[in-house]
């Protein structure tokens, strides 16, 4: 017996010593990978994107970000897509994501297909969260989601936290007997506002209310950095989806929470320049989305006058073409928040997001200006050795730049030099850092980079 006990203790000691040696000798291994599928069939695409990503990662992931364009809705459906992913992904892998209008990664730029970013790293704790019914109850959805993240990460020994989320973006609504359009010249703004409220309450269509979701999320998770993107389709605003582990959701917020010893930061820019044209809102709806009057005059007429645009510009096509190049901005919390016109109803302008201030500035968005935001975002990271990058950029930029977006991909590839990066195009972007205020709007480029933290580094 004494010999048995003695042998056991010797073995135990040897085992502990081996563990300590291993810990001293091994630096925590970090691996990241980005994968792609261009399959049309939803199930095959899900399988392929997971296979491609995991093959490159070379090990089981600690988390999996998954994004796709809306095409799979008609080529098998997103439930099949997710089933395909889980045929390959190890059980229990934390997964979030959603539908986007396009994406770019180390391999190229795409407006059809699926992509994923997976990371494996020992010094990291992960939690996922979900909140449902964002269009009807944005604050409650955010609270539910935040609670799950807190619970999942409360025992983490790492100080610094980062959230990536996907929130269901706005959906265009159909006015009975009229249809789905962006220009409703025969329908007064107040009636359209009322219709929007009703369709939002009854059918969860209409504005995404993402800014309201984010305000609450930030209140609940104020010690985290947050990077937010609103899910969308291919600019039709008919449907969008969020992915949460094995579920395919609508009208939800899904979050990935990370606590780690890695360094990270988010840089946001838009590159737009302010013109001399200024609009004073003199009458607006209570939800601050429908602008009824500018400078004491009907909003649409006053906008046309200030911009020196003819009445003929208020057509489906020209509204889209013109307003993309002249977004409107307002100063909020020391930053320029950018918004775009969602639709025209009677003589009223409906904005995509809440307009929080009464003075709007007309901004200009040339291709060169849009592209310059990328360089502005890369610059602060130039001295860093990135481990991976994740970007949320506005779908408006993709639609405006078209095939010129390949130049953005080239710029990012030059910076990352083979390190995995993933940029997705969404319909509203939000950034929050504990040392600054929440910024939310459109037409922005938001870049996060993770790096190995040394003792000299301070997390920004």
């Amino acid at each position: 017996m004494n010999t048995l006990i003695s042998n056991f203790r010797t073995e135990e000691i040897r085992s502990v010593k081996n563990e300590v040696s291993r810990t001293r000798a091994e630096k925590p291994l970090f691996e990241a990978a980005v994968g792609l599928s261009r399959e049309w069939n939803a199930r095959k695409a899900g399988r392929e994107v997971a296979e491609d990503t995991l093959k490159k990662l070379g090990k089981d992931p600690d988390f999996f970000l998954l994004f796709s364009t809306i095409h799979y809705e008609k080529y098998g459906g997103f439930k099949e897509f997710i089933k395909g992913v889980w045929e390959v992904l190890p059980e229990g892998t934390p997964l979030i994501g959603g539908t986007v209008s396009g994406f770019m990664n180390n391999q190229g730029c795409y407006t059809r297909g699926a992509t994923a970013l997976a990371v494996s790293y020992q010094n990291m704790n992960i939690a996922t969260g979900v909140g449902r019914d964002t269009k009807r109850s944005p604050a409650r959805a955010a609270k539910d989601c935040a609670k799950m993240i807190r619970k999942g990460l409360d025992s983490s020994k790492y100080e610094h936290g980062f959230i990536i989320d996907a929130i269901s973006g706005g959906l265009s609504f159909q006015i009975p007997f009229v249809g789905r359009r962006r220009v409703f010249q025969d329908i007064p703004g107040m009636l359209a506002n009322l219709t929007t409220s009703i369709t939002s309450s009854l059918f969860s269509k209409g504005p995404g209310r993402e800014e309201e979701v984010l305000e609450k999320l930030k209140d609940c998770l104020e010690d985290f950095c947050i990077m937010s993107g609103s899910s969308m389709d291919d600019n039709q605003f008919i449907s969008n989806y969020q992915f949460y582990n094995k579920e395919v959701l609508e009208n939800s917020i899904v979050c990935l929470g990370i606590k780690t010893d890695l360094g990270f930061d988010i840089i946001r820019d838009h590159g737009l320049s302010q013109t001399k044209k200024e609009l004073k809102i003199t009458k607006i709806s209570s939800d601050r989305r429908f602008i009824y009057e500018i400078n004491g005059k009907p909003a649409v007429q006053e906008l046309l006058r200030l911009m020196e645009w003819p009445n003929e510009y208020i057509t489906e096509k020209l509204l889209h073409d013109r307003t993309l190049y002249y977004p409107l901005g307002f100063n909020h919390n020391g930053e320029m928040a950018i918004d775009v016109i969602a639709l025209v109803s009677g003589n009223s302008l409906c904005m995509v997001h809440q307009v929080k201030e009464d003075t709007l500035y007309v901004l200009s968005a040339s291709g060169r200006e849009l592209a310059s935001a990328v360089d502005t975002c890369i610059q602060p990271f130039k001295e860093r050795r990135p481990l991976f990058g994740f970007i949320y950029s506005c779908g408006i930029r993709l639609d405006t730049l078209g095939s010129s977006i390949f130049r953005t991909q080239e710029r990012l590839s030059e910076y990352f030099k083979g390190v995995p990066f993933l940029a997705t195009y969404v319909t509203g972007e939000g950034v929050y850092k504990p040392e600054s205020s929440l910024q939310y709007g459109n037409d922005t480029f938001n870049m996060s980079v993770f790096w190995e933290n040394t003792t000299k580094d301070k997390k920004k």
Binding site: T111, K317, I405
Partner: protein
């Protein structure tokens, strides 16, 4: 049909024609010589104006063959309810051509047209090595 042409036809049929907003696409030069996949949908949508489209496109192919060597990259024109987009194969008199409705989000489509152009260039260059 050679294997090169079959591969290009596959790019047109599988990558582009399956996109909802592309009514027709082809890799062609003047007089529409080239690879022109014909679908029933294509015929139904634009049969009535096909001859007019062909004649108008031919005018632009003259411009393409003249200016391509100076770096002419893309041409767009709007004809009635349609946009015709030419993504020119660099330095040649040939273009990837797509016919789309006027009200679409062209930016998203352009990304896939560019992907198709690069794939087609890859096929052609591989052939020539």
């Amino acid at each position: 049909m050679s294997s090169k042409e079959e591969e290009i036809l596959k790019v047109l049929s599988e990558d582009l024609l399956r996109l909802e907003d592309i009514h027709a696409c082809m890799v062609a030069r003047k007089n529409l010589e080239g690879i022109v996949p014909i679908t029933e949908e294509f015929k139904q949508e634009i049969t009535g104006i096909w001859d007019m489209l062909k004649d108008t496109m031919n005018e632009f192919f003259d411009i393409i063959s003249h200016y391509s060597k100076y770096g002419l990259d893309k041409i767009y024109f709007e004809l009635g309810k349609y946009d015709v987009i030419f993504f020119i194969l660099p330095g040649s008199d040939t273009a990837l051509v797509a016919i789309v409705p006027t009200l679409i989000n062209r930016g998203l489509l352009e990304v896939e047209l560019e992907n198709a152009r690069r794939k087609i260039m890859g096929i052609l260059e591989r052939e020539e090595r």
